[in-house]
């Protein structure tokens, strides 16, 4: 259980591609097994316990408090080291320019430690406890199923949140220049599932010359629509869906379409689907629009 928590807080790999829920279900089942093995002593009311059990419980909370403090400090250290390792692995490749806040996997690990630390202490220090066995696998299966149901409901019902550009994710949202006119990089993202789903994001460089507005910097001219080549041509400046990641859901089919209207206004649309289950079952579609006039005025931002 501690090993799983350490893996979750490390942030490695950068994205679990939707498999994070497997770890959460495993933790839920392990929790239930441990609670059962310790007789639920850590959560029992004092009036239901004898003197020895009360002493054991209080000792568990006393040691658990100190251990929780140490675990939280260690979790932050592991997260920090994980970030450095992830950066070293991906460098000089681009990193996400979208800030998705505190990751869901980190939250899961912290909540797991908070909820279960006294139980862990009891399970570690107590001799074999005389606790009855389960007649079937019902309770663990129920725990796992309940976890999955809560997760699916969160993904389906939680409102989609705006993810702001990352402060250290590169040149998001700053003005650029080119030989043909002023340009600006736009970064946009959405968080689906309140941190327990996936983050979809993209960044695009838009230039204008007073007659029309166009996208530049797309690698190899990828993406649909009227993409016009430009002297800039930096492959990392425009990347459709490059800022997407998902620990508990899969991001599929990011597409970016460009349409330049008769008055030279650029209409740039990003679409992606976030699916918690295989074959895009229960998927939610995310759409972001960017509209920029030929004078560089932003009519609609990500």
């Amino acid at each position: 259980m501690l090993a799983v928590c350490a893996f979750l807080v490390s942030g490695l790999p950068r994205s679990l591609h939707g498999t994070g829920i497997v770890l959460v279900v495993a933790l839920a089942v392990l929790d239930l097994v441990l609670v059962r093995a310790t007789g639920g002593l850590a959560f029992a009311a004092g009036s239901a316990l004898d003197e020895r059990e009360i002493a054991v419980r209080n000792l568990a909370y006393r040691r658990g408090f100190r251990l929780l403090g140490a675990a939280l400090v260690l979790a932050v250290a592991i997260w920090w080291v994980g970030n450095i390792v992830a950066f070293a692995i991906t460098y000089p490749g681009p990193s996400s320019q979208v800030d998705s806040g505190v990751s869901g996997r980190f939250v899961v690990a912290i909540l797991e430690l908070v909820a279960m630390m006294p139980t862990l202490v009891i399970a570690w220090m107590e001799p074999a406890l005389a606790v009855g066995r389960w007649a079937s696998l019902g309770p663990p299966a129920l725990a796992g199923s309940a976890t999955v149901v809560v997760w699916l409901l969160t993904l389906a019902l939680a409102p989609v949140q705006v993810a702001s550009p990352s402060l250290n994710g590169g040149a998001g949202g700053v003005a650029l220049t080119s030989r043909v006119g002023p340009c600006h990089q736009f970064v946009g993202g959405r968080i689906v599932g309140a941190g327990f789903g996936a983050t979809v994001g993209t960044h695009v460089v838009v230039c204008w010359d007073g007659r029309r507005t166009y996208v530049v910097g797309a690698p190899g001219g990828s993406g649909t629509g009227q993409l016009v080549s430009s002297p800039m041509g930096e492959p990392t400046l425009t990347a459709c869906g490059a800022d997407s990641s998902g620990d508990f859901a899969v991001v599929s089919g990011p597409t970016c379409t460009t349409r330049i209207s008769a008055d030279g206004t650029l209409h740039y649309t990003f679409r992606a689907r976030v699916s918690p289950l295989p074959f895009e079952m229960g998927a939610r579609e995310v759409t972001m629009n960017l509209v920029v006039t030929r004078q560089g005025r932003v009519l609609e931002a990500f």
Partner: protein, 345 residues
């Protein structure tokens, strides 16, 4: 002893610079050192003032407020951050004395009552910490605004979080333990240290806040100086131009204080007066602020129809510990076209 060493290190370092920055920091550092020394000498035996529940609960409340200031006060970007950090250390020393360090004492040194109390304190502390962490998680995923606030305040609140992590059992213990009374028949021995410690601790805590409040009603002090008139001749017209140097500081506050300068040259030729130097926007900069932030609210130079020069430099001063209070300071120079100073400063 390590706590005292930390206090000494924390206050000696700024005290060295305090001699250069202001006498207040050095004096406050001496007060903190004296308070820490006296607190360490307070009698641990039951009956001392630290054994009383209301004193211990007041300590817990002030500690909690100090943690909130570290988390929400926005003091991290000014020298004012020293005050809550020093208070944190002092209050922890006092809390340790007040609880006789039962929360961290080895099992063998405690009696049954103390052990039961300690265990109960840890149980309550764990539940409080769990509630706090759950709240932080909810804040982190609720809305983009709360997520942004959490991401940007986490580094700043880490010290407050560490205080709760390592000091919460002692705080709970101090809150729930009843008055520790001296055994019956025992003669109460006068404790000089105990008598001095409470006023000293109160003074140490209150001083920065009282001085911050005083900033709002103390008078503004100025020290104007005007140089002699100097006559120059313009090469183009060969007509005389008179110029004069003006120098002043406007300062307010004691200990928590701020100062804005004016150093300018004004000239006149009988038709109009004008600013030769020192009256531009870039010249309106505060020279010094201690535990306060200074914001320029007005820096204008105008010449009226009759040729009179008007220069105004106005600033708003806010104490770092009480940023909702504000005090305005102003320096003005009005000089007519014949060099007559109508107002300065």
């Amino acid at each position: 002893m390590w706590l005292v060493a930390a206090v000494v290190a924390l206050i000696l370092l700024p005290a060295v610079f305090g001699i250069a920055l202001g006498w207040f920091i050095a004096a406050y550092a001496a007060l903190v050192l004296a308070t820490a020394t006296v607190l360490r000498q307070v009698n641990r035996e039951p009956g001392s003032w630290l054994g009383r529940r209301w004193v211990r609960r007041a300590l817990v409340v002030v500690l909690g407020a100090d943690c909130l200031v570290l988390l929400f006060g926005g003091v991290w970007f000014s020298t004012a951050v020293l005050v809550p950090i020093v208070l944190l250390i002092l209050l922890n020393i006092a809390l340790g004395r007040a609880t006789q360090r039962v929360a961290t004492a080895p099992d063998a040194t405690l009696d049954e009552r103390q052990e039961e109390l300690r265990n109960r304190a840890h149980l309550v502390s764990y539940r409080l910490l769990a509630i706090g962490l759950t709240l932080i998680v909810i804040i982190g995923v609720a809305t983009p605004q709360t997520r942004w606030w959490l991401t940007h305040s986490l580094p700043l609140g880490f010290l407050g979080f560490l205080q709760l992590l390592f000091g919460l059992p002692a705080m709970v213990l101090a809150w729930i333990e009843s008055d520790r009374l001296a055994p019956e028949g025992e003669q109460k021995v006068g404790d000089v240290w105990a008598a001095a410690s409470l006023p000293l601790l109160g003074l140490t805590i209150a001083t920065p806040f009282v001085l911050s409040l005083a900033l709002t009603f103390l008078p503004v002090h100025t020290s104007p100086w005007m140089g002699p008139t100097r006559v120059d001749y313009l090469a183009a017209s060969n007509s005389p131009v008179h110029c004069r140097e003006f120098f002043t500081h406007a300062s307010v506050g004691i200990g928590v204080e701020a100062e804005i300068p004016l150093h300018a040259w004004a000239c006149w030729d009988g038709r109009h007066a004008y600013g030769a130097s020192g009256m531009n926007r870039s010249d309106c900069m505060p020279t010094q602020s201690v535990f306060a932030t200074v914001t320029t609210t007005r820096c204008t130079r105008t010449t009226s129809a009759d040729g009179t020069l008007h220069f105004t430099y106005r600033a708003a001063v806010r104490p770092a510990l009480l940023p909702f209070l504000v005090r305005e300071m102003e320096v003005r120079l009005v000089i007519d076209r014949n060099g007559h100073v109508e107002r300065f400063p």
